[in-house]
């Protein structure tokens, strides 16, 4: 896989060639990913700030996300473990599609792209399910101070689940950051699925075969791996720590 042509550092930046031995498109996909990574990094740093500030009233994730489909008992972390598995798995199928593209193996590209799209859809669906249970909350609910506009004061009220202003499980900031960061990540996954689908259709119609190379798969693959990379961090900071 290593590039056969070594670059002379004195010549590399003289123009006429890419000093990175990479195509324009791939380099700029990396630059875009850096800017996107700064956005996610900023969001996670803000989360760290608020979490350290309200560390004594911060809810524990293993008490919040305990549901699992078709299972009555509460199993903390199991479902998010499954989601992580799905996303890592789809990252592997993506890299296998890239590898098949390097061999100009159209059928391999199509098969692995198909499984990548399925994995992405499964992940987005799982996230919707998780949001649903977080918003609906437990049967018993919890007592919280809620602003009552009629009496112009906070009154005690039993609330269920979480939204942008109240959170059954603890500090409302937890819900704010959860919705924003996982929502922003979910948007990335969704757009990744759409882009993957477009690329899949192009590969199916033989666009890349005609072009002679499957570089587009690699560029989209970079984006898809980035989505997986972000999830690894979100998973740690929201669910484990």
């Amino acid at each position: 896989m290593s590039h056969s042509v070594e670059i002379d550092p004195k010549e590399a930046w003289n123009g006429g060639q890419s000093p990175f031995r990479l195509s324009y498109g791939k380099v700029f996909m990396w630059f875009f990913l850096i800017s996107d990574a700064l956005t996610f990094g900023g969001l996670l740093c803000a989360y760290g700030f608020i979490r350290h500030k309200y560390s004594d009233v911060w809810p524990k994730a293993e008490n919040v996300f305990t549901h699992f489909p078709f299972v009555e008992q509460h199993i903390p972390l199991a479902y998010v473990g499954l989601m992580t598995f799905i996303l890592i798995m789809s990252s592997v199928t993506m890299v296998l599609a890239v590898e098949a593209g390097h061999r100009n193996h159209k059928r391999g590209v199509l098969i692995w792209m198909f499984w990548t799209i399925i994995g992405g859809l499964a992940f987005v669906g799982s996230q919707a399910w998780e949001w649903y249970h977080f918003i609906v909350g437990t049967d018993v609910g919890a007592l919280r101070m809620v602003w009552d506009p009629e009496v112009q004061n906070y009154v005690e009220k039993t609330i269920y689940g979480a939204n942008m202003t109240v959170n059954e499980y603890g500090a409302p900031q937890f819900a704010n950051f959860f919705f924003f960061i996982t929502g922003f990540h979910g948007t990335h996954v969704f757009s990744g699925v759409v882009i993957n689908f477009v690329i899949f259709m192009n590969a199916l119609l033989g666009t890349y075969e005609k072009r002679g190379h499957y570089e587009m798969i690699e560029k989209v693959g970079l984006y898809w791996h980035f989505v997986d990379l972000v999830w690894v961090f979100v998973f740690t900071f929201f669910y484990l720590l």
Partner: protein, 156 residues
Amino acid sequence: MEFHDDYPEYEKMAAHGEEDGKKLRRTLWNVFWIMLVITIGELVVGFIAPGKGWTGSIYLKVFFIGFTIIKAGFIVMAFMHLGHEVKFFKYTILGPYITFMLYCIFVCLNEGTYSGKAANRTPIDQLLVKQQEDLRAHKHHGGGHETAPEHSPEHH
């Protein structure tokens, strides 16, 4: 002057045959298995940590963050292929980002800890924390998951 920056040239260098492909696929699957084992290990530790009273300990944080960075390294270096790109490019991508993020993490966590100390809280923060603490101690709390004491695992 002829302009050589057309992607097919670079892309053709990445092309490989069936033999290399087999080797590469084996490497990629190995990376996947390592990442799966790490993730399962993290989940197991996350599952038993409250019962063992590890929650919030520095060792647990180092464990989770350390393995997260290892996983991130695998994704970036193997899946995203950055480990095989030229040295200049690796440093161009990672250098500025890591430098800036280390600074940002330091500033955010430091300031968050400072402003979270009881003496440094603004009146509205004091109110918010007090409300949450009162509600946590409240008798008619409803028995939701968050009502159990911090260290008890048996409330499920």
